[in-house]
């Protein structure tokens, strides 16, 4: 199995979720993160002083899938998360050794 992790713009989560459902993904996990990268952060102003905030809000999603599906998933994320502006984020792929569904104890692709 493969684990695909993507860091995306928060506002794109809905779209990505739908795109993934479109390619047959049945489950995923998401959380809010802060990203540092080429997309520079922003300036905030408090009582006349400027504060530089380097981290921008991002959402990270994780989805574990069978090997065959990996490429499609990657592609679906890239397509649905793209705005074309800097900071759109990244998709990373890793090997996943095993998966278990807690409720049933099913293992491997069955568990996904």
């Amino acid at each position: 199995m493969k684990k695909i992790e993507a860091v995306i713009k928060p506002h794109k989560l809905e779209d990505v979720k739908e795109a993934l459902a479109g390619v047959g993904v049945q489950g995923l996990t998401a959380y809010e993160v802060k990203g540092f990268g080429r997309q520079k952060g922003h300036t905030e102003i408090y009582r006349g002083a400027e504060y530089t905030v380097d981290f921008v809000p991002k959402v990270k999603i994780e989805v574990v899938v069978e090997d065959d599906l990996a490429e499609q998933v990657e592609h679906a994320i890239v397509m649905s998360a793209r705005t074309g502006k800097i900071g759109d984020g990244k998709v990373f792929t890793y090997d996943c050794g095993s998966a278990v569904r807690i409720r049933t104890g099913e293992r491997g692709p069955e568990a996904l």
């Binding site: 506002h11 809905e14 922003h42 300036t43 905030e44 102003i45 408090y46 905030v53 502006k85």
Partner: protein, 410 residues
């Protein structure tokens, strides 16, 4: 007449209470938007406390409450509050005019602030500042004059105890114009735009309810039985509004929500505003029940039209204010307030005429002028932030601030 210390004490307090409603409204609205817009939403109300207070002193007050000119506008006698410190105003003959000025000024602050719920999450701050100033002087001050300051609506015999037309209907009509001109939020229809912090909204509701006693019972301009009856009516209508809304909601959706309870209470408060000093406690309960139901229906309609009145200014203040104004014509009773009139239920269906005329005139006037104002402002500075700013959130894009930083990495 001589200054009465008890009346003055009550009016000082009432003015303070009405001022407090604006931060309350800011919290009420602020909790309902997404977290990235919370500060901008609060700011829209807060800024009214700043800008309107000053404009009111300079010119607004005299336009509204200066000596009547042809039933249309007040004269300039009180320009810059000239001469208010050692006099009284005929509407509140037992309190110093300074207190009357302050009290009325608080109404002028909160009324435009009510509009902001309609265009939440997308309007430029600069555009709002311009609209605020223009609306205060061109819409609010004349309307206040027409209804209370000796103008034609009051003279016609329309009853509006504490601002059903002047405050609620006028702001709702303006809200409708905003919704039409500014358009929907980018994410309207595509994202679930849930309230981000209902504890803030509920706190705001508590503050509004508390402050509304100053709003309505203060409109007696004295600490007397009339104030007492308006106080009681206010509380009962708020309560009945809450019951009514949550009941309908339970039927319709199977749950009574906290936002429903809050919304119903506010609806009840809006509905009783024109009637507070003219009706019995039981009538106040009836008004609350009817208005709660009407407003619940009103917000459902919004979905039908596809409008994005983000925080339901039309559904609550428009529907509630209008229903309340009509019901005032139904339930008003001279036995409660001899200075009022009898309504339909007390044998005088004719009262409905000025009530309806007042409502229609207010809607037409406020909607029309607001529409023009918006078009002008749009041409000059633009009404809406751009898409990127809207996605980023107005807190950062318009004010360079962040609402909450709850993590520990600092």
């Amino acid at each position: 007449m001589q200054i009465n210390t008890g009346d003055t004490a009550w009016m000082l307090v009432s003015a303070a209470l009405v001022l407090f409603m604006t931060p309350g409204l800011a919290m009420f609205y602020g909790g309902m938007v997404r977290s990235k817009n919370v500060l901008a939403t609060i700011m829209q109300s807060f800024f009214a406390m700043g800008l309107v207070s000053v404009l009111w002193a300079l010119v607004g007050y005299t336009l509204a409450f200066g000596p009547d000119k042809a039933g249309l506008i007040g004269g300039l006698q009180y320009l810059g509050l000239n001469g208010v410190l050692r006099t009284t105003h005929s509407l509140a003959p037992t309190v110093p005019q300074s207190v009357f000025v302050a009290y009325q000024g608080m109404f002028a602050v909160i009324t435009p602030a009510l509009i902001t719920g309609a265009f939440a999450e997308r309007m430029k701050f600069k555009a709002w500042v311009l609209l605020l100033a223009g609306w205060l002087l061109i819409v609010y001050a004349p309307l206040a004059h027409w209804v209370w300051g000796g103008g034609w609506i009051g003279k016609m015999g329309a009853l509006d105890f504490a601002g059903g037309t002047v405050v609620h209907i006028s702001s709702a009509a303006a809200a409708l114009a905003c919704v039409l001109v500014i358009g929907r939020r980018r994410d309207h229809g595509t994202h679930e735009l849930q309230p981000h912090n209902l504890t803030l909204t509920l706190l705001g509701t508590g503050i509004l309810w508390f402050g509304w006693f100053g709003f309505n019972a203060g409109s007696a301009y004295a600490a007397n039985g009339l104030a007492g009856s308006a106080f009681l009516a206010t509380n009962l209508s708020a309560a009945a509004g809450m019951l009514s809304w949550t009941l309908f909601e339970s039927w319709h959706r199977g749950k009574a929500t906290t936002l429903g309870a809050a919304s119903g209470a506010v609806a009840g408060l809006v509905g009783i505003t024109p009637a507070a000093g003219y009706v019995t406690p039981l009538a106040a309960i009836a008004i609350g029940l009817i208005v709660g139901a009407a407003c619940y229906g009103g917000i459902l309609l919004k979905g039908r039209f596809g409008y994005d009145d983000a925080l339901d200014v039309v559904g609550v203040h428009g529907v509630g204010g209008t229903t309340g104004a009509i019901l005032t014509g139904v339930f008003a009773w001279k036995a409660v307030n001899a200075a009022g009139n009898n309504g339909v239920l007390h044998g005088n269906p004719a009262l409905l005429v000025p009530q309806v005329v007042g409502v229609v005139a207010t809607i037409a006037f406020s909607f029309g002028v607001t529409f023009v104002l918006l078009k002008v402002i749009d041409a000059v500075v633009g009404l809406r932030v751009d898409d990127e700013a809207e996605t980023l959130g107005l807190d950062l894009s318009e004010h360079a601030e962040t609402g909450y930083i709850l993590g520990r990495a600092s």
